[in-house]
Symmetry: C2
């Protein structure tokens, strides 16, 4: 996470480091106590406004560069309250309570007087304890054996990821028949490659297309209303990931009355469960 | 949900209606704009402070009795920031954005200047859409065929529920061997019986004992840090439940570095998935 970059490369020239398009999308400048200014980036455009993953990462980024920050991210809940216009936004990040081992944050994104996104985050210190993973990754081919997915899905931000669908891919949406169940399993990494950190991991938790598309066999109006991320790995484990592919798997429990949930897990290639992402999505169909 | 009751029965005389001990634990009195006063109830005491489920319900209750409320609960994220002392508390519930179909809430519980619990909630209108449940309940015996669990677990709030463990019950904790996996499946309803509503459902989402107890085969220091509830059923479906048992099933994905997650689903007896509860818990062990 860095503030503004002193160089100004064109948006078409992604690179490693502070000029990577992901870092540029989540770059924040401190502009007052608890207050940060950011800017949407055209390379991350979604149907309306920016990709929600970069919004999540920017909100968490305000906490991580706050001078009062205590510990590493444990949990983040994002509530997408309204569309974000292209351009500048302000993020207010305020520690509401600091304990010995953890800290509770209130975060709000605004443009003018309008609240666009709210969030709470918890950061904390971790010590070694008994450790066990019950949720092991599904048996899948290595990412090198799976073709990269088409970028032709009508939204620009897709191009910033190398996604490789193992099951429940975009073809199952495009073919129009609808899948019998909502699971998508895919490999994903930044394109160009970038070392994983909490911000990139948060963003990837929101990188799956809506499960309603897969079940209905067509894109329908849909959008995330709220997203909760639990970081189940330590900062060391996240850093150890480097720029390798993550394996993500997501499914829904129920679709009903304009809303459906989504439950995602993201593992490292060696089976370390890094995070879960739990969403409630609006949909029509 | 009602405000204060005009009668004053003893705490040992639970009853239906506003005198039910659950209603008394979550009763709030409006004391200013966006501001409500409540009081912990001794019948819901946990190891330290009140049971987190009634705290969750009281926070949501402030939204439901707010004059600006728009729609029914869709999602609630509770962050338990610090211990609640026995006695009075204030809840501030503020609508931060109201859209045509949904509304975003910021909620904070305080005693004096200290923030004890923060939350966000989303309420909304729902219309009929394509509907499907992928997550069906496990095959279990009817609640009438399962003995009620012992109330002897060292905390008083347990007595307000009729819990019937199907798998992963308290015996597996008490026997000290540790279970090979973290799933508990149980029937649960209020004792005495009470018609289900969003508040009672929210509370039941927090009624499972910590998964670390089950895996380690002993109670260890543990507590919920954050709980996210997604209401996957409409208000009509929740009301149709009446006072019958719900079936709940919960498990963890990973235990590591002082924290573990928990993922719960709650169904009606006829298999309607009413809600999911997703937690991050602190634990030592």
């Amino acid at each position: 996470m860095q503030n503004t970059s002193s160089s100004s490369p064109s948006p078409d020239a992604p690179a490693d480091g502070p000029d990577h398009l992901f870092d540029r999308a989540v770059a924040l400048e401190p502009v007052g106590p608890d207050l940060f200014r950011g800017h949407t980036h055209e390379a991350w455009a979604n149907m309306v406004g920016p990709f929600g993953g970069t919004t999540a990462a920017a909100m968490l980024g305000a906490v991580l560069q706050h001078p009062a920050k205590h510990g590493d991210p444990l949990a983040l809940t994002l509530n997408y309250a309204g569309p974000i216009a292209d351009g500048e936004f302000l993020i207010e990040a305020r520690p509401v309570r600091t304990n010995n081992s953890n800290q509770h944050w209130w975060i709000e994104m605004r443009q003018g007087e309008e609240v666009l996104t709210t969030a709470t985050a918890i950061t904390g210190l971790r010590r070694e304890t008994w450790s066990e993973t019950e949720s092991t990754p599904p048996a899948v081919p290595a990412p090198e054996e799976v073709p990269p997915a088409s970028e032709d899905r009508g939204v620009r931000w897709i191009g910033n990821y190398d996604m490789r669908f193992v099951t429940g891919g975009w073809d199952d949406v495009a073919e129009g028949e609808g899948a019998p169940e909502s699971t998508t399993t895919m490999w994903i990494r930044d394109r160009p490659q970038r070392d994983l950190d909490h911000l990139a991991l948060a963003s990837m938790c929101d990188s799956f297309f809506p499960r309603a598309f897969l079940r209905l066999g067509r894109p329908v109006p849909a959008g995330t209303v709220t997203l909760t991320i639990h970081f189940l790995a330590t900062a060391d484990e996240i850093a150890a990931q480097g720029s390798d592919f993550l394996l993500g798997s997501i499914h829904s429990h129920r679709f009903h009355g304009n809303y459906h949930d989504e439950s995602a897990r993201l593992w490292s290639r060696d089976g370390t469960l890094l995070a879960t992402g739990t969403q409630l999505m609006y949909f029509k169909g």
